[in-house]
C-alpha cells in the first residue's frame, strides 16, 4: 500500500512537514535583503510553479492535455486589470472575481470540449487561447494592442517586489496544497481512473463528464488567480503576452518535464526549467540557448516519460524494498531457531 501511494501520488506524510519548512524558509528570504533581480526571478519561478500545478489538475491527473491555459491566465489578468482600471476595487475583491470568471469560462468551453479526447481536445484548447487573444485585441474597453497601464502600488520598488514575492509564494503554496490534497481524496482516484481508461472508469460508476468539468474549472480558477496577481505585479498588460500560446505550452511542458503523476512533479519541472532557461538566456547566444533547451526537453520526455521525478521515485522504492526484505529475512532466521 505504502509503495502504491508512493508511486502514483507522491511521498508519504513527512512531505507536508518538509513543504511547510521550505515555504517558511522561502518566506524569510527577503529578510536577507536580496536584490530586486533575485526577487523578480524567484517571483517568476513561483508563478510558473503555480501555473504548472494548476494545469496539472486537468492535464496531468485527468490526462486531458490543455494547450490553451493562457486563455484562463489572460482572462484572470484582464479581469483584475479592468476592474482596477475602471472601478479601482481592492485586490481582495478583484482576485476572487478573476478566478471565478476563469472557472465560469472553463465551464462554458469545457462542457462541449471535454467530450473530445486526446489530440482533438488539445487542438481545441490551443485555439481557445488564440481566440481570447483576438477578442481582447478587438474589444472596445481593453484598449487593444496598445495595452493597459495600471497604477503602481504606492511604495518603493523594493518593497513592492517583496510584497509580490510573498503573495506569489502564498499562491504557489495554495496551488501545491490543493494538488497534494486531490491525490489523497476520492477526486484523485477518479481522475486517475479517467486518465487510465475512461470507459472502464464509467463501468465502475465514475461520472467522467462531471468529474472532468470540475477538474477543468478548478484548474482554470487557480490559473485565473495567478493571472490576476500577475497583472498587479506587471502594472502593464498587453494581450500578446498574457494570451500567448507560448505560455500555454511552457506550463504544460513544465508539468510533463517534472512529472505529472505526483503533486510535486510540476513544481520540480517549473523550478528546473526556469533556472535552466535563465542560465541559458544569460550565458549563451539566443539561438544556442533555444536549441539546448529544446534538446533537453526531448531527451527527458523520451527517456523519462513520467518526468524528472521518476528518477527519485525509482530509486526510493528499491531502497525501501531492500530494507524490508532484509528485515523479513532476519525475522525468518530468528523464527527458525
Amino acid at each position: 500500500m505504502r509503495r502504491g501511494a508512493l508511486r502514483s501520488f507522491g511521498l508519504p506524510a513527512p512531505d507536508a512537514l518538509i513543504g511547510i519548512g521550505v515555504v517558511l524558509a522561502l518566506a524569510a528570504v527577503p529578510l536577507a535583503g536580496p536584490g530586486t533581480y533575485l526577487l523578480g526571478f524567484l517571483f517568476t519561478i513561483f508563478m510558473y510553479g503555480a501555473l504548472a500545478g494548476s494545469w496539472n489538475i486537468i492535464g496531468g491527473y485527468a490526462g486531458y492535455l490543455s494547450f490553451g491555459h493562457a486563455a484562463f491566465f489572460g482572462l484572470g489578468a484582464y479581469t483584475t486589470a479592468l476592474l482596477l482600471f475602471y472601478s479601482g476595487w481592492s485586490p481582495f475583491l478583484t482576485l476572487p472575481i478573476a478566478g471565478a470568471l476563469a472557472a465560469l469560462f472553463a465551464a462554458l468551453v469545457g462542457y462541449p470540449c471535454l467530450r473530445l479526447r486526446g489530440p482533438y481536445f488539445s487542438l481545441v484548447t490551443l485555439i481557445l487561447g488564440l481566440a481570447m487573444y483576438s477578442l481582447t485585441l478587438n474589444l472596445p474597453f481593453t484598449q487593444g494592442a496598445s495595452g493597459l497601464f495600471l497604477p503602481f502600488l504606492r511604495v518603493d520598488i523594493y518593497t513592492s517586489h517583496v510584497i509580490f514575492y510573498e503573495i506569489m509564494l502564498g499562491l504557489l503554496t495554495i496551488v501545491t496544497a490543493v494538488l497534494r490534497q486531490i491525490t489523497r481524496t476520492k477526486m484523485g482516484v477518479g481522475l486517475t481512473a479517467i486518465r487510465e481508461d475512461e470507459d472502464a472508469a464509467g463501468t465502475l460508476g465514475v461520472n467522467a463528464t462531471r468529474l472532468k468539468l470540475q477538474a477543468f474549472m478548478l484548474s482554470a480558477f487557480l490559473t485565473g488567480l495567478v493571472g490576476g496577481v500577475y497583472s498587479y505585479y506587471k502594472s502593464y498588460l498587453d494581450p500578446s503576452f498574457v494570451f500567448a500560446t507560448s505560455i500555454s505550452i511552457t506550463i504544460a511542458l513544465m508539468a510533463l518535464f517534472g512529472g505529472r503523476l505526483a503533486w510535486y512533479g510540476p513544481l520540480v519541472g517549473a523550478v528546473v526549467l526556469s533556472i535552466v532557461n535563465e542560465m541559458l538566456t544569460t550565458q549563451a547566444p539566443p539561438q544556442t540557448a533555444r536549441i539546448v533547451f529544446g534538446a533537453l526537453l526531448i531527451i527527458v520526455i523520451m527517456f523519462l516519460p513520467d518526468g524528472l521525478i521518476s528518477i527519485i521515485q525509482r530509486r526510493l522504492p528499491a531502497f525501501v524494498l531492500r530494507r524490508a526484505k532484509q528485515a523479513a529475512a532476519r525475522d525468518e532466521i530468528i523464527g527458525n531457531r
Partner: protein, 242 residues
C-alpha cells in the same frame, strides 16, 4: 430482475441485434452463446449503457434503464467485465479495485474503500499480487482483477464477457470455482458470454443462443446441445441432420 424487450441495435448499415427479448430472474446464472459476431458483446453494451439501443427497452428491477449512461447503470448495480481485459495498467491491483469501491458504492473515505478492495482482492485469490502494478499481471490474473473490480461496485447483476477465453484448463477450472463462490457469497445474478462451451454447460442453468443478432434458442444446457438449429449454426447443416 433484468429484462430486455425487442432490442434492436444498428451500427451504420449492420444490424447487430434484431428484436431480441430476454429475461433473467434474481440469482440466476444464464449463459449467452453464439458464433463470432452474433451480437453477444453488443447486448452487454446495450445493457450497460455503452450502446444505447435503436429500439426496445431494458428494465432493471422494473425500472426503465434504456439509454442510461454507463456510470449510472453501474451505480444502480449492474457490473460488467470486458472481453479484452481493461485494467488500469498504471495502478496496483488494490488501486484498481478501489475505484469501484469509491464510485460504484458512493463511498467517500479512501481508507474504507481500500478495506473493501483488499477483501475482494483476497476473495479472487490475488492477495499475493495486491500491490503489484496491473500491467505486470498474467492474463489469468488480469481476468481475476477484472472480476474483483466488477464486484467492487457491489453489483446485483454481473455481466461476464468471456472470462474463460485464453485460459488454460487449470485456470478455467479455477475461474469456474470462482464464479461458484461469487454466487454463493454474494447471491448475485450472472449473465455470461462464453465460447468455452463445456464450462458453460457445467455452470449455467439456462442458455440463450444468438445468431446474426437474433435469438434462435433458449433453454436448459442439455436441450440447447441437442437443438438442431443451434448445431447447424455452429457446425453446419450436415451435422444438424445427423
Amino acid at each position: 430482475m433484468l429484462r430486455g424487450v425487442g432490442i434492436t441495435k444498428r451500427f451504420g448499415g449492420v444490424t447487430a441485434l434484431r428484436n431480441v427479448s430476454f429475461e433473467v430472474g434474481a440469482g440466476e446464472l444464464v449463459g449467452l452463446i453464439g458464433p463470432n459476431g452474433s451480437g453477444k458483446s453488443t447486448l452487454f453494451g446495450v445493457i450497460s449503457g455503452f450502446h444505447p439501443p435503436d429500439d426496445g427497452t431494458v428494465f432493471f428491477d422494473g425500472r426503465h434503464i434504456t439509454g442510461a449512461r454507463p456510470h449510472t447503470v453501474a451505480q444502480l448495480g449492474i457490473a460488467r467485465t470486458f472481453q479484452i481485459v481493461r485494467p488500469f495498467t498504471g495502478m496496483t491491483v488494490v488501486e484498481n479495485v478501489r475505484v469501484g469501491a469509491l464510485y460504484g458504492r458512493g463511498e467517500r473515505r479512501i481508507a474504507v474503500a481500500d478495506r473493501h478492495a483488499r477483501e475482494l482482492v483476497e476473495f479472487v485469490g490475488l492477495e499475493q499480487r495486491a500491490d503489484t502494478l496491473a500491467r505486470n499481471l498474467t492474463l489469468a490474473e488480469k481476468k481475476r482483477l477484472e472480476i474483483a473490480r466488477a464486484l467492487s461496485i457491489q453489483p446485483r447483476v454481473l455481466l461476464l464477457d468471456e472470462v474463460f477465453a485464453g485460459l488454460n484448463p487449470t485456470e478455467v477450472r479455477g475461474a469456474i470455482d470462482l464464479i461458484a463462490r461469487i454466487r454463493s457469497q454474494f447471491g448475485v445474478t450472472i449473465i455470461m458470454v462464453e465460447h468455452v462451451l463445456k464450462a458453460l454447460m457445467e455452470t449455467c442453468e439456462r442458455i440463450i443462443v444468438l445468431s446474426y443478432g437474433e435469438k434462435i434458442a433458449e433453454g436448459a444446457p442439455s436441450a440447447i446441445a441437442a437443438d438442431p438449429h443451434v448445431i447447424s449454426v455452429y457446425l453446419g447443416k450436415t451435422y444438424a441432420a445427423r
